[in-house]
């Protein structure tokens, strides 16, 4: 399991560094007040990272950043981006930019966009009605 969060003077943040096969429950409970979680992916076929990331995003008390490092395909970077990960580093020699320039959007993202848009529109309507 994860090392205890430690205070790092140089970058002045609380960093938690874990492997992708970390028990999700433990990680989630250890993630409160952490500024950044660095997840290491040992092998690109292990898709647990995607659920791990999503669980962290859903966890209300975690407001930090998620960074991912390890053996991933450039093509998988897109999936991580979709799940909200912004910092990704491949350490398997593959070029992160060597992926299709245009990446297909999934139905899931489209629905989420639509739902967010609807909520936004609804808020506007409510606001205008309240004015």
């Amino acid at each position: 399991m994860a090392n205890k969060p430690e205070h790092d003077d140089t970058i002045c943040e609380r960093l938690l560094s874990v492997d992708a096969d970390t028990d999700i429950e433990e990680l989630v409970s250890a993630s409160n007040d952490v500024d950044r979680i660095l997840i290491h992916v040992p092998v690109f076929t292990d898709g647990r990272i995607f659920s791990l990331v999503r669980r962290l995003q859903e966890h209300r008390d975690f407001t930090g950043k998620i960074a991912v490092r390890g053996d991933m395909l450039p093509d998988q970077v897109t999936l991580l981006h979709r799940l909200g990960v912004t910092e990704i580093c491949l350490d398997n020699g593959l070029d992160i930019n060597d992926q299709p320039r245009e990446i297909t959007r999934s139905y899931r993202e489209r629905r989420i966009d639509v739902v967010l848009q609807n909520n936004h529109d609804q808020r506007q309507v409510n606001q205008e009605a309240g004015r």
């Binding site: 999700i24 690109f44 076929t45 292990d46 898709g47 647990r48 995607f50 659920s51 791990l52 999503r54 669980r55 995003q57 859903e58 395909l73 093509d75 998988q76 897109t78 999936l79 991580l80 979709r82 799940l83 593959l94 070029d95 060597d98 992926q99 299709p100 320039r101 245009e102 990446i103 297909t104 959007r105 999934s106 139905y107 899931r108 993202e109 489209r110 629905r111 739902v115």
Partner: protein, 552 residues
């Protein structure tokens, strides 16, 4: 049939371009074989025994005539002139090259088709009852739900690298014609007492080397919660499914090791979380999908023409009507099976010329629609009875009218050692020999409903576990042997066949099948008692004695 909207089309177009670049990177050495593997599998491309194999998705087994014509064209231009329909209602081409695959996908996209997630460790083609929208006992048409699930789990960022493949089947009738209890998830449409729509959810079923019948994990899931609940199941599986052993990686092993109660609890917990992110389905979203399912506009009153007279005049036509057609819920129509099982024909194979011919029939007589069945046949779903004779004439001339649907020569059979790199034994020649042995159609008729399923190895692509007679190829000292199971069923009364004794040699296997059939004929109470009913009544001993002698 579902008609694509702009987004659907742009998604598959984008996917084709993406896969073309992935293939280029592989061919240029910028992706290793191992790195390319999941990318190509998620686009249906396998590297098989003799050549690559491309599996094209046929979502819930529905095609329109132009789509079937495109499959014919692909068979002709990129393959050796034929395709193979699979037990998951898809089609496989056995001889394309890697370089061709992006071009084939490009051609497919022109007719709203693709190979997305037809393989790989992700959510596969959603399958269903081939009689959806036809069967009299149907509660609700399952296909729009299949489409909803298909969309949601297409390129889903969380579930594209699962421990293993993931198969979902949906059925809308009490009679299960979708083998749903042998899927990772089986969904049964149920309506609550006050008409609320929902699903009974079964999980953890599957065939393969450890066959398991799915367990009920929820008896009523409101349909608005379907997506969130499926996500919860998939997430529990993604997190906890085994990744250290390919043969223990399916959800059935997880469900078994946790126990159904603990598994259910985990899913429920996860579902509470997932709901924050996945809002319940609203009516508008589902109606948007429903709207794109334009059904056929049936004639209100249909003149059945000389349908009855023709049957009296031509017994062969009468037999075809009896065995290969199904009464349609809409009066005056029938659903017509196109039997891909005939002597000299590999079960499920169809050549390009005959694909075109079936497409023409669909266009002219079946509201443009053709379906694939998990039993590896095709179906013309809506044929007016007055047209049946003409349809039969054409099918008969194409050798697609063998009146054997659900009979003992309607064999489900995997490609086996002739094509598959994992096989222990051949399966196609065994099926062929059974046809030869039971060439007399009167005999086949008199035996009644009997399902023989053959797999070339434990992976069970030929569904041998759920065949009334199951045949499994095994290898012993470099020779092909076959294990026989009896009493399997894939319906709502799903059961796994029981092994009746030691493996039987290639030389003797078809004799053994014949002995089994004769034992049944001797033992049945009357012609109304089917093979499976007789087997359930008398058990295996009489069959064993006949095959193995007294010592059994």
């Amino acid at each position: 049939m579902y008609a694509y909207n702009l987004f659907d089309q742009s998604l598959i177009d984008g996917r084709v371009r993406e896969f073309r670049q992935q293939t280029e990177r592989y061919l240029a050495g910028r992706l290793s074989e191992d790195q390319f593997r999941p990318l190509r599998l998620m686009n249906g491309l396998y590297f098989e025994l003799h050549a690559p194999m491309l599996r094209v998705a046929i979502p819930y087994g529905t095609l329109h005539a132009d789509q079937l014509r495109m499959l014919a064209r692909i068979a002709r231009e990129y393959d050796r002139g034929y395709g193979h329909f699979t037990t998951r209602q898809n089609i496989q081409f056995n001889w394309p090259t890697v370089e061709m695959a992006p071009d084939i996908l490009d051609d497919l996209s022109r007719v709203q088709m693709h190979a997305i997630q037809s393989s790989g460790n992700c959510v596969r083609n959603i399958t269903t009852d081939h009689l959806a929208g036809i069967a009299a006992d149907e509660i609700e048409d399952p296909r729009p739900w299949c489409e909803l699930i298909r969309q949601w789990f297409t390129l889903h960022p969380e579930f594209s690298y699962l421990p293993r493949k993931f198969k979902i089947a949906v059925t809308g009738s009490p009679r299960d014609r979708a083998v749903s209890l042998l899927h990772d998830i089986g969904l049964h449409i149920v309506h609550g007492e006050n008409g609320e729509r929902g699903f009974a959810v079964y999980a953890g079923g599957g065939m393969g080397r450890t066959p398991v019948i799915g367990s009920l994990i929820r008896d009523f899931l409101p349909s608005t919660d379907l997506i969130g609940y499926l996500e919860a199941i998939l997430r529990v599986y993604n997190e906890l499914g085994r990744r250290d052993n390919k043969h223990k990686a399916r959800i059935k092993i997880l469900v078994r090791s946790l126990g159904i109660e603990a598994f259910r609890d985990l899913v429920e917990q996860e579902w509470q979380r997932v709901q924050r992110d996945v809002p319940p389905l609203d009516d508008d979203e589902f109606s948007a999908i429903l709207k794109r399912f334009a059904g056929p506009s049936f004639d209100a009153v249909v003149d059945t023409g000389d349908f009855a007279a023709r049957q009296l005049m031509e017994p062969a036509f009468a037999r075809f009507v009896e065995h290969n057609t199904i009464v349609h819920r809409h009066a005056g129509y029938r659903a017509v099976y196109v039997s891909l099982k005939a002597p000299g024909q590999v079960p499920g194979d169809l050549d390009a010329a005959r694909m075109d011919a079936v497409a023409d029939l669909a266009q002219r007589y079946s509201f443009d629609e053709v379906r694939t069945t998990h039993t590896q046949n095709l179906l013309l779903p809506h044929v007016a009875m007055s047209d049946l004779y003409a349809v039969w004439k054409v099918l008969d001339s194409l050798q697609l009218a063998t009146p054997n649907i659900s009979r003992l020569t309607d064999i489900i059979c995997c490609p086996g050692l002739d094509y598959c790199s994992l096989a222990n034994a051949r399966s196609i020649p065994v099926a062929e020999e059974i046809y030869q042995r039971f060439a007399d159609i009167d005999e086949v008729s008199s035996v009644g409903e009997l399902r023989i399923n053959i797999s070339g190895c434990m992976n069970a692509c030929g569904h041998h576990h759920v065949g009334h007679i199951g045949i499994l190829g095994v290898e012993k000292r470099g020779e092909e042997w076959y294990q026989v199971t009896l009493g399997g069923s894939s319906s709502e009364d799903a059961a796994l066949g029981e092994r009746i004794g030691p493996a039987i040699s290639r030389h003797d296997i078809v004799n053994a099948v014949e002995q089994i059939v004769h034992t049944y004929l001797d033992q049945r109470i009357d012609a109304d008692e089917s093979f499976i009913q007789t087997y359930r009544r008398i058990g295996a001993s009489k069959f064993k004695e006949r095959i193995y002698g007294e010592q059994a």
